[in-house]
Symmetry: C2
């Protein structure tokens, strides 16, 4: 588990300095933030593997997540750093952080302290898309 | 399983017509595409639940995914519709499509026909981010 006592740090090298080979195979963590300074983060339940939430981190949220061991996001609507669970208490305790081949997405295994979705559902993905009579509609309810 | 014989369709209503209540609890599929016309899609292995890849769909890729039952993305680098596996043969056969609370991310359970990552790894998330001496570095190799 990533500890809580680690001081915040500069988390990564500047984008663009790595060759594709080093980016995909090397040990250098060089997260590729998009034009808005964000990277996609997928959080899964460390025990069940279920996908809980997809949200976005800026460099500050990523550094805080790694340093403190609790998932932080950048809230696009509120335009501020946001520790998941800061209001509800339903924090996400980090067990593992992974990065994909081209380093533009993060996968976080975490232990949820309660339902992850603000609706009260365990996961934000509580509805299924189904095709009926050629039309895509949603089924399922919050669980 | 979503069938292969369904004709392409208009997949969804126009963004912005739903109240938050209907968006989060209703049966209307109203995917929220970003300013570039894209929505984040997370694909997990239907058998193991492992996260395989995170990529992006535009409305056309989403409609093709639902209609044909094979995962399609929008390639941001090549700027074109792209059926995953069209070159490698490692397609992703759709078992289930889910959407999150505010309908700005998709979760797809799929059966992979081979390694999903272009590097040959089963999953694009083959490396772990670890903190050593206050520095975030990567460990792990492609499997």
């Amino acid at each position: 588990m990533i500890g809580e006592s680690i001081e915040p740090m500069g988390c990564c090298v500047t984008e663009g300095v790595l060759s594709q080979q080093l980016r995909e195979n090397g040990a250098v963590f060089a997260p590729k933030f998009d034009g808005s300074g964000l990277i996609t983060a997928v959080v899964v339940d460390a025990a069940s593997g279920a996908v809980l939430v997809v949200a976005y981190m800026n460099a500050e949220a990523l550094a805080a997540t790694l340093a403190i061991g609790k998932v932080h996001f950048w809230s696009r609507s509120r335009e501020r750093l946001w520790m998941k669970g800061e209001t509800s208490g339903h924090i996400l305790q980090v067990e593992e952080v992974r990065v994909d081949c081209d380093q533009d997405a993060l996968l976080i295994r975490a232990v949820p302290a309660g339902p992850t979705c603000h609706t009260g559902a365990e996961s934000c993905f509580y509805r299924q898309v189904v095709v009926r009579d050629g039309e895509a509609v949603l089924t399922g309810t919050q669980t």
